[in-house]
Subunit: 356 residues, 2 copies
Amino acid sequence: MARTTTDLLAATAELVAIPSVSKHEHLIADHVQAALRRQSWLETVRVGDNVVARTALGRPSRLVLAGHLDTVPPKDNEVPKIEGETLWGLGSADMKGGLAVMVDLAASVPEPRCDLTFVFYVAEEISRAYSGLLALSETRPDLLEATAAIVCEPTNGTVEAGCQGVLKVEIAMAGDRAHVARPWAGRNALHRLAPVLTAVADWPGRSVEIDGCRYRESLQAVALTAGVASNVLPDKAVMELNYRFAPDQDEIAAAARLRALFDPLLTDGDVFRVTDSAPSARPALDHPLLGALVKAADGSLSGKLGWTDVAFFAERGVPAANFGPGDPELAHTADEKVTRSSLERARVVLGRLVGE
Amino acid sequence: MARTTTDLLAATAELVAIPSVSKHEHLIADHVQAALRRQSWLETVRVGDNVVARTALGRPSRLVLAGHLDTVPPKDNEVPKIEGETLWGLGSADMKGGLAVMVDLAASVPEPRCDLTFVFYVAEEISRAYSGLLALSETRPDLLEATAAIVCEPTNGTVEAGCQGVLKVEIAMAGDRAHVARPWAGRNALHRLAPVLTAVADWPGRSVEIDGCRYRESLQAVALTAGVASNVLPDKAVMELNYRFAPDQDEIAAAARLRALFDPLLTDGDVFRVTDSAPSARPALDHPLLGALVKAADGSLSGKLGWTDVAFFAERGVPAANFGPGDPELAHTADEKVTRSSLERARVVLGRLVGE
């Protein structure tokens, strides 16, 4: 088995040193494109600041490896810092470590077992409308054609299968204004919201096992706004919920479940409204390439709790899984970091999969 | 008994037609001052846009009648409209009806039983710092010296004795941010607020009788703010409370009562903070002038639930009560109005009291 001799920690630090907050991916796209163009066996295409590199070996199957180029805004962590075998810095885990592994794999395996498409795309960390994957699927859908896909988001070197769906819901309770000294003349919308907020806080949770993967749902109140004046009963109280639902439910079933939870607490004039949603994706481990990925990862497997672009591929009929270096729990934190062993482990597993 | 022949409904309409939203009392002060200056038995003093007119008859007692010149902002009701015996319009109840009665009383009783001080002051409807009464008490405290005081806020022609105090409290719950897909990595401050909000909404209330007056307390959540991003557990949730407490409690006792209510729900890092307060005032009906007011009002008496400047006078050792025309429940509403009979009733009662 051929092994990379690249210093993956240094390569990741180089990527971290290139600022790439969402909508500012131009420089990092240049960097990645330059690295890929050197390889004669890759066809490299740039669409905006999205970069796609493909082999064209006529293999019966084609695997996409996808990673986003952007990061969230810095938290005083934009300068990469290596200490020993650990790299700290913005995007080190989410997901410049994954990008470094992808670039290295692309550059070092000229004859993979299946054809490979490396997709480096913009704007994963912001509103869906900006997503580079969406842009590619509209302008160059041929670039995304594949038998299976791996999204190289941080998973700590475990295969995280499928992904949970997202439902964003707004609940607006109605009331009637009145002076606080005479509350019986009105109806306090914020007080009416108390049992709704309690139902969220006390929600017992829901956990589902599919194909040996455990999905643990989450229902969180993420925002609340109410207030007219300090001496007036508020006539409106608006709560925003974020529901992460397991892939045994689609968006409609998930919305119906929430609606049933809150319906007894709502009356005429109150509003229950789905403001945004993203589909879940079932684990697709029966697909040979994804089954082989689990095997290459020594059987290390769990369900993906967050939403990722695995759902983007699944929606388009391309079975997909998450696999990459770095700790997903550190994504978007000031202490974001990645270790050399995590990078090398991911590189080795993917190398095994593509028949290095 | 001499009776006014003034058309009090028309006089009130004239006052309503002069815009006097807080901080814009100049024109209405001119109007009131002009009306008072005509009376030879009154000494009229203007301090800023506050207008004070006094008799100086050497009577053993002196009664202040006080009313604020300002209104809240309009709600499409700035044009006075008379239909039959009712006047609609901004400030008609709160409290230009009271001002019209005061001006008429001042202008028509040259030899009252006790000396009279009529105080027309600015900025009652906004932050306390702007109050014309506070300004007068700093620059010309002599103008406010009195044996007793009547604040002519709308009371529907009933003596509303004393007033409830006000406590504004902020409760800020702490949390730790985390991604919504991994809530166990953090602490949702908004979820932690649920039992606090429930304690407010379920507060059983408190009702106290003092000197035959019933005080019904009110505890209301008037504002709530929380939210970092739609996929992040909020690390802070801030609720604002408004507590109206009966005059058997002072501000310290009222704060201690709330603190005891919420203490079991708060931990290190949470904040319970009194942001503003105003004292309560006990009914002072044992004072001869206020006892006489109740008698003149045919014994019609209740406790004042809202906060008024009665507390301002009580704090300075001047026993005070609320008495005026108009329905207090209509104050600050778009449908604010006052009736001729309400104005005349108030005028008659006050005339009786001062020995017209």
